[in-house]
Amino acid sequence: MLYNEPSPLEVKILTRRFGLENSQSLDTYLATDGFAGFRKALDMTPDQVIDEVKASNLRGRGGAGFPAGMKWGFVPRDSPKPKYIVVNADEGEPGTCKDRVLMENDPHQLIEGMLIAARAVGAQAGYIYIRGEYRYIIDIMDRAIAEEYERGYLGRNILGSGMDFDVYTHTGAGSYECGEESALLESLEGKRGQPRIRPPFPAVAGAFQCPTVLNNVETFCAVPAIFRDGAAAFADLGPPRNGGTRLFALSGHINKPGVYELPMGFNLLRMIQEVGGGIRGGGKLKAVIPGGSSCPVLRAEECDLSMDFDSVAKAGSMLGSGGVIVMDETTDMVKLAVRIMQFYQHESCGWCVPCREGTLWLEKVLTRVDNGGGRPSDINLIDELARNMLGRTFCPLGDAAAMPTISLVQKFRDEFEERLPKSVPAGDPRLVVVG
């Protein structure tokens, strides 16, 4: 199902089958070049497959943007242990809803991507870890998997190649943290969803302590096109070191929110104006979170920006998961800070001290400020607490909570100050107990 009108500015590579009749069926998939990439990969050596992915400049779409080919290359293929392919379909980042449409509209593309990865590292089994709320997508994937087994695209001796590969879906249970790759693996193994100490990284010791390729749904979905059309064609779609297209999930105060596939490096302002149809009600842009709630906020004047990993990083934020949250001038930045912190407080797994205690404390102080009960020292306190978390937590969730907070206080400090009570109680403010 499509949730928004496509935009004429889109470059449809991963979404090319969206809108086709029966786009979920294997027949449709096969009729539209399905498995062309995999067939090519079957004729290549594993090293050639990995080199092809490297040459495509495909970078991880889950958030960190790590080069996918490099990651695959870290897998010790001569290890006697079984190797696994794991798809991160936990899609928990607020503002992000692209993996959902990819699986919903073209499930076979994801499985083909997994098969090519399996070919590259010699894996015989793969897991798709799908967030529990996507119940219906689990059904879609299960149906697609069953269809492929029936037609010999999964199972033993696939397409007569001698290659064996099994795919299983696995349900998450509502934890954002289980999207973090090592927590995902713990959860997949049936344990508490909390991250692991790294190194070792999943490539070396992933699922069941075996070498594992773990990527985001969109990352895998990009792989068939790389083999079908060639790595160079894919790389050329974007600026240097940022190959291909990206599914941007535009949300917020724009006229046409939706998921749009645009080339890497698409200008953010253009994206808002031309793809998203501009700010609702002809309003004025105030700020954008460019890659999901974990990313530092950008002020309107910072938004004339090429949307690729490196440029956004240079601008002090992150391309993240491609969830572009657009805010107009009616947006209350203090409330935004509260809402973001509520999310991270709720989702902190509790394993490490700074995140577990820091998010709770920050949520309380931010709420107090928002409710008009703040103290002058609170703004610095918020900033300091967030900085005390930053870079010191066990996994990046702590950073994800700290970074937007720090940027909001830094860029919109005046709004926080305005929210403080006008008359400060006499005496030591610390003696005022606020419940």
């Binding site: 934890s175 943290e177 508490r192 969803g193 100490i197 407080q345 709720h346 989702e347 902190s348 797994c349 509790g350 394993w351 490490c352 001290v353 700074p354 577990r356 205690e357 820091g358 998010t359 709770l360 404390w361 309380k364 102080v365 107090r368 306190l381 005390n388 870079g391 010191r392 937590t393 066990f394 610390r430 107990v433 606020v434 419940g435």
Partner: protein, 693 residues
């Protein structure tokens, strides 16, 4: 070993083996990096973030507890950035902490308190309402106060990894994460209290100790546990001549950090209300309190009469009295009363093992060997139930060194979980089963064999022959039951063996013979309860019992002399591995006397010269005259365990397998003594794996 790595920590050059964690490399160099979640020997967590250090060329602070050393690494452990980070971690930790130090059991020995003192953050900027959770009782001996918990997960790991129990887990998430029993609302576990001891704060508290006192109001006396043969060091907290706590404060004993429920809680028999505090004498058919003088005079008179008449007198010694007491008793009986009718409840065939090992040296395993041996074979013993420390050692060996464990038992045991091979063999068929493991065992580079009472007499000799045939170094442990079972054997509480396993000229009566003899004129029972399961054959025997309680045997006595327990006297005991350790007197119980003093007073009363009855003097004599007991005194004096090296030669003894019988105690029983421990009685049946051999 690979080349050492050289690095710099706080401007000091440090060398360490590759793979060493920075926290340990620093510790070895005398630099302490604060840590809550890191704990030696347990898996890494990196959760508390206290150990963050600055490493040159690494942008973020690093956790020293997970970071391996690297050549040329430059580490700062007290830089302003590090100190500031540590302070902020403490501030975070204290946000939801109740700060009820003034009433907390841990106050004064709390790691969180110490850290806050060191790094500040004592004044909180957190003025919100704290998250409160009511205290919970997990078991009769384990309580949990969630708000004090800093979630270091030490308790979870010691229970799972250390004990092999896994009763504790983590529930909820985020700021409301809690430690909780995996079985819902209560622990199904060994009730060892290891979780309480390892908790850096006062979150887990002991049912026996909580809210009773403050640590600094107690005197802390390190002595040896009164219960099983493993010989753990337990530190008794004493206030006003009462034992309030048992724990393992300094981890200096052979047991390191380990204690089972008995060593930690079952000191409470000492002030049980039924404790005997006055001698009793049968008058008009009833046992009545009398003075020590009257009781001793009566016993002396009757013993002398029997001796002069040449009547039959039997003596049953104890598995729990000290080496000094056992030695003095047998000397008293042999030289003073002129009889070899002395025996004790034999719980394992130590003598047969020593005899079978004639001509070899170093074939008796130490407690430490169990932690380092490449392979271990357990025959007919449920270690987790009956030899808790040995079980812990072997488990730690498996976890840390990948020791290969083989099990031959009649029923399932805890070791099955990680054993290289577990074989079920009915009693009597153990050796055939070991024979079946021959091919695997001979591939090992070394082996320690532990065997229970099912292997006795001739079977011990056959086992040793089998061990010899493997062609690898093999060491043995003959499993015995109680705190000085081994010492009772070594000190000659046998009718046919003198101290050091020297053969006696004319063997006396065995324990069953004494109990059965219809013409027995006197029976002297010291710290034993033979009439619990047997009838006394002689109708008219004059029975003298030295004990803490009015046991089945004491009830049949004509004179009962109240004895002091192991916690109320000094002396030495020898554990299952033959390690000699010293008891330190923790308390005194009014009216009771140490058995040695009772023997001494009796000898004086009877004008028998069996030597001075001061423990140090008797031990001097033991060191001079008993094979293998010439142990270095400084080792004992400093709380160490000195291995006794027994006779290396054949012992001409008649194999009497019928006399060997373990009491098959469980983790929650301890012979007759255990019945008088409130804490042992409070816990439910011991979990899992128990069989009756």
């Amino acid at each position: 070993m690979a080349d050492l790595v050289t690095l710099t920590i706080d401007d000091r050059t440090v060398t360490a083996a590759p793979g060493t964690l920075v926290i340990n490399a620093a510790r070895a160099a005398g630099i302490e990096i604060p840590a809550f979640c890191y704990y030696d020997g347990l898996t890494l967590q990196a959760a508390c973030r206290m150990c963050l250090v600055e490493v040159e060329r690494m942008p973020k602070l690093q956790t020293a507890c997970t970071l391996p050393v690297a050549e040329g690494m430059i580490v700062q452990t007290e830089s302003p950035k590090v100190v500031e980070a540590r302070k902020s971690m403490l501030e975070f930790l204290l946000t939801n902490h109740p700060l009820d130090c003034p009433v907390c059991d841990k106050g004064g020995e709390c790691e969180l308190q110490d850290m806050v003192f060191r790094y500040g953050a004592g004044e909180s900027r957190f003025t919100e309402i704290k998250h409160h959770v009511d205290e919970k009782q997990f078991s009769p001996v384990v309580f949990f106060d969630a708000p004090r918990c800093i979630l270091c997960y030490r308790c979870v790991r010691i229970c799972d990894e250390g004990m092999g129990v896994g009763a504790l887990g983590v529930i909820n998430r985020g700021a409301v994460t809690e430690i909780g029993p995996n079985m819902g609302d209560h622990l199904v576990c060994d009730e060892c209290g290891m979780c309480i001891d390892i908790c850096p704060v006062g979150a887990l508290t002991s049912g026996a100790y909580r809210y009773k006192t403050r640590p600094w109001e107690m005197e802390h006396i390190g002595t040896i546990c009164a219960h099983c043969s493993n010989g753990c060091k337990t530190t008794l907290g004493v206030r006003n001549d009462r034992i309030i706590r048992g724990n393992n404060r300094d981890r200096s004993g052979i047991n390191g950090e380990f204690l089972c429920i008995k060593g930690r809680y079952a000191f409470d028999f000492t002030d049980h209300p039924e404790r005997l505090q006055s001698p009793l004498m049968r008058k008009g058919g009833e046992l009545e309190p009398v003075s020590w003088a009257e009781a001793l005079a009566a016993v002396a008179r009757r013993f002398l009469e029997v001796k002069e008449r040449g009547g039959r007198l039997g003596v049953i010694g104890s598995n729990r009295t000290t080496n000094e007491e056992n030695y003095f008793l047998q000397k008293f009986v042999r030289q003073g009363l002129g009889s070899n009718n002395i025996d004790h409840h034999r719980t394992g065939d130590v003598a047969a093992l020593i005899s079978a090992l004639a001509g070899t040296t170093g074939a008796l395993a130490s407690t430490a060997d169990l932690y380092s041996a490449k392979a271990v074979l357990v025959i007919a013993g449920d270690l987790a139930q009956q030899q808790p420390l040995l079980s812990f050692q072997i488990r730690a060996n498996y976890r840390h060194h990948g020791c290969r464990v083989y099990v031959v038992t009649p029923g399932p045991v805890r070791e099955d979980k990680y054993a290289a091979k577990s074989v079920r063999a009915a009693t009597g068929e153990e050796l055939a089963a070991v024979e079946g493991l021959r091919d695997e065992l001979r591939k090992e580079s070394e082996l320690v064999i532990l065997f229970g009472d099912a292997v006795r007499g001739e079977a011990v000799r056959r086992l040793v022959a089998l061990g010899d045939s493997f062609g690898i170094p093999v060491k043995y442990v003959c499993l015995v039951d109680y705190s000085n079972s081994r010492g009772a054997a070594d000190m000659g509480l046998f009718p046919d063996l003198l101290p050091g396993y020297e053969p006696a000229q004319t063997p006396g009566m065995t324990m069953p013979e004494m109990l059965a003899a219809e013409d027995l004129e006197a029976l002297w029972v010291v710290g034993a309860n033979p009439l619990k399961a047997a009838q006394l054959g002689s109708q008219y025997a004059f029975v003298v019992v030295q004990d803490l309680f009015l046991t089945e045997t004491a009830r049949r006595a004509d004179v009962v002399l109240p004895a002091a327990s192991a916690y109320e006297k000094t002396g030495t005991v020898t554990n299952v591995c033959g390690e000699v350790q010293r008891l330190k007197r923790a308390i005194g119980v009014m009216g009771a006397k140490p058995d040695l003093e009772i023997f001494g007073l009796l000898s004086k009363e009877m004008k028998i010269n069996a030597g001075l009855w001061h423990p140090d003097r008797v031990f001097d004599e033991i060191r001079r005259s008993v094979r293998g007991y010439n142990v270095p005194l400084p080792v004992l004096a400093t709380g160490g365990a000195a291995p006794a090296v027994p006779l290396n030669g054949h012992i001409p003894l008649e194999a009497r397998p019928d006399l060997i019988r373990s009491a098959n105690d469980t983790l929650f029983t301890s012979g007759s003594l255990g019945r008088y421990s409130k804490s042992l009685n409070s816990v439910m049946e011991a979990p899992g794996g128990l069989y009756r051999g």
